[in-house]
C-alpha cells in the first residue's frame, strides 16, 4: 500500500489525471466527497487530502510515502525529503516585487522591510544569496497591499501572469526561483517500499515524457 498526500484543488486533479494516464486506477479519489482518506486496497493506493503546507510534513514523518506539492511550499518548509520529479504543472515564479519606480534602484534601500507569506524563503534569499539583513513581515494573503500602504517596501510572493501586480502598480524586481509541482518521497519509504515506489516513479516519468511529445 502506497500512501500519497495531495492538496485539494487543481494540483490534486492534475496529479490524479497523471496517475490514471500512467496506468494507476484512481477512480476512488475522483468522486466528489468530503472524505479525507480515500483508499483502494485492491489497487494498493491510499490518498490523503491535506493542506498544501502540510504535505511536506506528512511525507517527512512517513505518514505518507509520496506527496505532490508546489516547489514554493517545499522551499518554505525545507524538509528532509527526496524531491524526485518535476511534474511541470502549476508553473510560476517566486519573486521579489515592489513599486515599478524601484526597478533598478531597489538595492539602494537600506534596512528593507519585506512582506511575505513565505518568511523562510525570504530570510534564506536575503541572508544567503544577497547577504543582507532585512525586516520580514509575515502576512497571510493579499500581500500586494503591503507596499501600497507603506507596511513594507517590497514583497516576496509567487507570480503567475503578473496581472495582479500590474493592476496594483507593482512589478517583478528579482526572480528567486522557478516554481512548479514536485513529487516528493519519504526517505525511509524509498528503501522499505522500493518495489512499489520505483515502478510508480518510472511510470510517471514515462508518462510525462509522452505528454511532452
Amino acid at each position: 500500500m502506497i500512501t500519497i498526500a495531495l492538496s485539494k484543488g487543481r494540483l490534486a486533479d492534475r496529479t490524479l489525471e497523471l496517475l490514471e494516464a500512467a496506468g494507476y486506477d484512481c477512480s476512488m479519489a475522483k468522486e466528489d466527497s468530503r472524505k479525507l482518506i480515500l483508499e483502494d486496497a485492491a489497487a494498493g493506493l491510499r490518498f490523503i487530502m491535506a493542506k498544501p503546507a502540510d504535505v511536506p510534513t506528512y511525507v517527512e514523518y512517513g505518514a505518507a510515502d509520496i506527496g505532490v506539492v508546489g516547489k514554493d511550499t517545499l522551499m518554505e518548509e525545507n524538509r528532509q525529503l527526496y524531491e524526485v520529479i518535476d511534474l511541470g504543472f502549476g508553473a510560476c515564479r517566486m519573486c521579489v516585487c515592489g513599486p515599478e519606480k524601484l526597478k533598478g534602484n531597489f538595492n539602494r534601500i537600506p534596512n528593507k522591510r519585506v512582506a511575505s507569506k513565505y518568511p523562510n524563503i525570504t530570510r534564506t534569499y536575503f541572508e544567503k544569496t544577497k547577504r543582507e539583513s532585512v525586516e520580514i513581515i509575515k502576512l497571510n494573503g493579499s500581500v500586494e497591499l503591503a507596499p501600497l500602504i507603506g507596511l513594507a517596501e517590497v514583497i516576496v510572493d509567487i507570480v503567475e501572469s503578473g496581472r495582479t501586480l500590474r493592476e496594483n502598480g507593482l512589478d517583478v524586481l528579482e526572480v528567486i526561483a522557478d516554481i512548479s509541482a514536485r513529487l516528493v518521497v519519504n526517505r525511509v519509504s524509498m528503501k522499505m517500499k522500493a518495489k512499489e515506489i520505483m515502478p510508480m516513479l518510472d511510470a510517471i516519468r514515462a508518462q510525462l515524457g509522452k505528454d511532452k511529445e
Binding site: 510534513t57 514523518y61 512517513g62 525529503l81 524531491e83 520529479i85 518535476d86 528503501k191 522499505m192
Partner: protein
C-alpha cells in the same frame, strides 16, 4: 507572566512505565551486545563546553541547547555521542593502545523543530571503533548495527551504504570544487534530479560523465553497482572508494548480513563530518532512519589526534516507536502477587517475611501498606492484573508456608 508548572518543555516528555520498561530492556540488550564484542562503555558529561561541538563545524549552533557557566563561558547539552567520545579519545585516553573500542548509551539533546513525534531529548546507543582505517573495521561497525536492530527485535531491516569519498573523487576528477561541489552534493543527497540536471548543463562535462552524475542519486544495488561504476570512473580516489565498498560487502557477506544491505551511491550527508563509507538503517512504520553511522577520520584530528574512526548510533526512542507500530512492543512484566495482613500483632512481620521469600524467588511482590482488608485487596489485585493475592491473618500460622510451597 505565564505559568508553565503543569507542562514539559516542547519536544521533551515524560516516559511512562510501559515505555520506560521497554527502554531499559533495549538498553540492557545493547549494552550486553556491545560488551560482548569488546566495546567498553563510557559516560561523558551531559553538559560540555560549546566549543567541543562547534569547533569542527560538525553541528550548527542553532541545533545546540546552550547555557553559560558562572564565568560566562558557553556550554551546550550533549548533542551526540561521537564528538564527546572523540574528545575523550584524543585527550584522557590518548595513550591508550589502538584499536580502541568505545560504546555509550545516553540521552541526547537537539534543538530542532518539535511536534509530530520527533523529540528534542532522545536516547541513543552507539559505538566508536578508533585507530583502524580499513573495510573490515567499516564492516564490523555495520554488522554490529545490524545485530543491534535484530537483538531489539526489528527484523524488517534495510541498511543503505554509501561512500562520501566516491563522490569527492568524482568532483576531483571533474575539476569541481568549493561551493559548487557542495551544492551538487546537496542535490544528489536530496535526489533532486530536476535541479541536478540544470546544474549539469552548466558544468561542461562530457556526455558520459554527465550521464554518470545524473544516475548517481538512484544507483542502488550491491556488487553489480560497483562493477558498473568501475568502468565509468577513472580517478584513483573514486576507484579506491569503490574497492572499499566491495571489501565491505564481502566482509558483510561473511557475517551473513548481505541480505540486509544495499548500496545507495547518492547518499552523501554531511561532508564536514564523514570521510568514507557511510550508512543508514531503516525499518517499517517510522519515517526516519533508526541507525546512522560511517567513517569520520577528520573528527579526531580536530581534537589534535590523527586517528581513523568509524562508528554508528541507533535511536532507542525511535526503535520503541517502531516496535509499537509494528505490533511488537515489549510488555512490562506484571506484578506477580500482592500481600496484605490484618491488624493483629505479628501479622505484619509475617507478611514482610513472606514478601522477602517470594522476591528472592524473582517474583514481583507488592506489600500492601494501605491497610486493605482481604476483600479490598482482592479488588485491588483484579484492577491491577495482579495474579495472586496473599492475606496474612494472625490465627493462620501456616499460611505463609502453604502459599510459598505452592509456588
Amino acid at each position: 507572566m505565564s505559568n508553565y508548572r503543569f507542562h514539559t518543555p516542547d519536544g521533551l516528555s515524560d516516559m511512562l512505565p510501559e515505555d520506560c520498561a521497554a527502554k531499559r530492556k533495549i538498553e540492557k540488550k545493547l549494552r550486553t551486545l556491545f560488551d560482548s564484542s569488546g566495546y567498553q562503555e563510557i559516560e561523558t558529561p551531559g553538559i560540555e563546553f560549546f566549543d567541543v561541538f562547534a569547533c569542527g563545524k560538525f553541528v550548527s549552533q542553532e541545533n545546540l541547547y546552550k547555557m553559560t557557566d558562572q564565568e560566562g563561558r558557553i556550554l551546550a547539552l550533549r548533542y551526540d555521542g561521537t564528538v564527546p567520545a572523540a574528545r575523550l579519545a584524543a585527550t584522557v585516553l590518548k595513550d591508550h593502545p589502538v584499536p580502541l573500542r568505545l560504546s555509550y548509551v545516553e540521552n541526547m539533546y537537539r534543538f530542532r523543530e518539535s511536534g509530530g513525534g520527533r523529540q528534542r531529548e532522545f536516547a541513543q546507543a552507539g559505538v566508536e571503533l578508533l585507530g583502524v582505517s580499513n573495510a573490515q573495521a567499516d564492516a564490523e561497525v555495520i554488522a554490529l548495527s545490524i545485530a543491534s536492530a535484530l537483538e531489539i527485535g526489528l527484523t524488517d531491516l534495510q541498511i543503505a551504504i554509501g561512500q562520501v569519498d566516491f563522490f569527492l573523487g568524482l568532483m576531483e576528477e571533474w575539476g569541481i570544487a568549493g561551493e559548487e561541489a557542495d551544492l551538487i552534493s546537496k542535490l544528489v543527497d536530496r535526489k533532486d534530479s530536476v535541479m541536478l540536471e540544470k546544474m549539469a548543463d552548466r558544468l561542461n562535462l562530457d556526455e558520459r560523465d554527465r550521464e554518470t552524475l545524473l544516475m548517481i542519486p538512484t544507483l542502488f544495488g550491491t556488487y553489480e553497482t560497483i562493477d558498473y561504476l568501475w568502468e565509468r570512473v577513472r580517478g584513483d580516489r573514486a576507484r579506491a572508494a569503490l574497492t572499499n565498498l566491495r571489501d565491505v560487502l564481502e566482509t558483510l557477506e561473511d557475517y551473513g548480513y548481505l541480505k540486509y544491505v544495499s548500496l545507495d551511491m547518492g547518499m552523501l550527508r554531511s561532508l564536514e563530518y564523514y570521510t568514507g563509507m557511510i550508512f543508514k538503517g531503516f525499518t517499517h512504520e517510522v519515517g526516519f532512519p533508526i541507525i546512522s553511522g560511517g567513517r569520520y577520520d577528520r573528527v579526531m584530528s580536530v581534537f589534535g589526534r590523527d586517528l581513523a574512526a568509524v562508528g554508528f548510533s541507533i535511536g532507542i526512542t525511535l526503535c520503541i516507536a517502531a516496535m509499537h507500530r509494528q505490533g511488537r512492543a515489549y510488555a512490562r512484566k506484571a506484578t506477580d502477587a500482592v500481600i496484605g495482613y490484618d491488624n493483629e500483632p505479628g501479622s505484619r512481620k509475617k507478611a514482610i517475611e513472606a514478601a522477602r521469600v517470594l522476591r528472592k524467588k524473582k517474583m514481583k511482590v507488592i506489600l500492601d501498606c494501605a491497610g486493605k482488608d482481604e476483600k479490598a485487596l482482592g479488588e485491588y489485585a483484579k484492577s491491577n492484573s495482579i495474579g495472586q493475592v496473599i492475606f496474612i491473618k494472625a490465627d493462620d500460622g501456616s499460611c505463609l508456608e502453604e502459599e510459598t510451597e505452592e509456588k
